[in-house]
């Protein structure tokens, strides 16, 4: 869209882009700002990064976050892959129910699931903590993974497994060499996406963490409630870089490993659009 031809829309777009990016830019700038008040430029420093990296709270928070993200990614992928395999051969009505359940997990507010699980775990005397958070994250993460993996599975000719059997592959070999191998790009993409979602989650973690588990986003949340220091900016930038790198890897993986009849743009659309 050309600015000259649509001046109002163009200006509006600029404002929106500004609102989105200026705070992020401010975080990045202040993460190397010597002035701890963050209102003026006091010269460049890596002090806040060093502080963040040596902060024991941040370090345990990061470990907790990665544990949760890995656990939830694994659980989500297992659910999504087995669900998708069932889905392919299921009757139409059962499929519709399954699809509705998947989309419900994406659409319904996270806080609803978090509250419900919180009460369920209390009733069942299931201890709050890392395990509880993994379960909570898997509720919606498995849905995102399911959408991505199913999209790929629909594009696969159902006859390829028969072809594998015809060529001498036992059912297990056929699954490994054909079905799973053909789905691998989608599994990688889905895995990285769910890892990222889990990585920056606040709501579910807040409800289900109890006293024992405080993942990084909650550490940050706790920090700004008591004191605002440029250390937070440094952490923010690092998390941001980490997430962007992960997304980059996801896109690269889904194109490089050989997406099924799609190009890079479709892989991107698949990753972000659905």
């Amino acid at each position: 869209m050309s600015l000259r031809r649509h001046p109002v829309a163009g200006a509006l777009a600029l404002v929106v882009v500004g609102f989105l990016w200026i705070p992020i830019l401010a975080v990045a700038v202040n993460s190397i700002n010597q002035s701890s008040l963050m209102v003026s430029w006091g010269g460049a420093t890596v002090h806040w990064y060093s502080l963040a990296l040596h902060d024991p709270n941040v370090r345990t928070g990061l470990t907790t976050t990665i544990e949760i993200a890995l656990g939830s990614t694994l659980v989500s992928l297992v659910i999504a892959v087995s669900g998708a395999l069932w889905w392919r051969r299921a009757p139409a009505r059962a499929r519709a129910v399954y699809d509705a359940m998947v989309y419900a997990r994406i659409i319904l507010p996270e806080v609803v699931f978090a509250t419900a699980l919180f009460f369920l775990f209390l009733k069942a005397r299931f201890p709050l903590g890392i395990l509880a958070i993994i379960v909570g994250h898997s509720v919606w993460n498995s849905a995102y993974a399911a959408v991505i993996i199913q999209a790929r599975l629909v594009g696969l000719d159902p006859a390829i497994e028969e072809a594998a059997a015809d060529l001498g592959a036992t059912p297990w070999r056929a699954f490994r060499r054909v079905t799973f191998a053909a789905l691998l790009p989608a599994i990688i993409a889905g895995g990285l996406l769910t890892f990222t979602f889990s990585f920056d989650d606040v709501v579910t973690s807040y409800f289900l963490g109890g006293n024992s588990a405080t993942p990084l986003p909650l550490v940050l949340f706790g920090m700004i409630r008591f004191r605002i220091t440029p250390e937070i900016n440094a952490i923010g930038v690092m998390v941001m870089l980490f997430t962007v790198t992960l997304m980059g890897v996801a896109v690269a993986a889904s194109t490089l490993v050989g997406s099924v009849g799609r190009g890079r743009r479709d892989a991107l659309a698949e990753l972000y659009g659905q």
Partner: protein, 362 residues
Amino acid sequence: MNGESSVRLSGVEKRFGDLVAVRSVDLDIAAGEFFSVIGPSGCGKTTTLRLIAGFERPTQGMIEIAGREVTGLPPYRRPVNTVFQSYALFPHLDVFENVAFGLREARVRRAELRRRVAEAISLAQLDGRERAKPRQLSGGQQQRVALARALVNRPEVLLLDEPLGALDLKLRKEMQVQLKDLQREVGVTFVYVTHDQEEAFSMSDRVAVMDHGLLEQVGRPEDVYRRPATPFVASFVGLANRLAGRLVGAAPGERYEVDLDHLGRRSAHGPPGLAAGAAVTVVVRPEDLRLAPATGPQGGPAAATVIDVAFLGAHRMVRLDAGALGQLVAIGQGQSTVVPDDKVVLSWADDDAWVVAAAAQP
């Protein structure tokens, strides 16, 4: 063809719930034969192929391949390979790995695997495309990958399920010739399923015609065309004029005499054992039907009226209204003189007429 049996089905039946897809089929396909199964969609031909491949288990009956019973064996234990209608190429593997798939499953040594894959790839004229993914190939190329992937395993029998169905007409004709040449070259038994009778006729040593799960006829293409066993075969295989009549009795020279309504009594060949008085159908191919102008009242009653004449290039096709016998079609070079509404007399050589028992038809 060395006369050995390659595929044998004995009393094979397949039910899906209430639906009987294949009923009591007996079939004996010789080694090295190009055998086609034709029939309309839903006739059971694909199910028959899937039974041989092992994707379906028969409800009843026995299947033997190369003299060994395989009825209960899964597809991966059968010495057959399939070319699928959709090709079913592995999208994540390149051409080389697609072709090598079966050899890797069979744990063929590296050097031999390379050699055989290269051989199959050049047989399929895919040299230079080894590293291409299936989606980067044209339909014809994909089809040839599917063929190479199956043949590289040197199966006893190659099963082909409408392998040319997805190609356009010109490519189809080319591939028909290539397939036939290939089959002659490798000497593998081909079992070829198609709904296109012309395709089957041009390539096959023998064809089987199926309808409603039943084998209607098995024979050489010319026999099936010239001497159809049932009215269904007569009408499915090429254009046919089917004249309803009543059998009067046997005539000299292994013929029958048939009363054909207002066309009078005619004699025709037919299978042995037809009883006098039976309702029969006389099959006359359009190219065998001769038309002569009905000349005046003394020439007898006009047998048919010309409805229209279509120009087909090499010849003309004349549609006729033969009163109680329905609409007829005549094709040939000699039909050029008639015009619509002409009254004509119909004739044909006795040898070109074939009697079949009228089936209990809807």
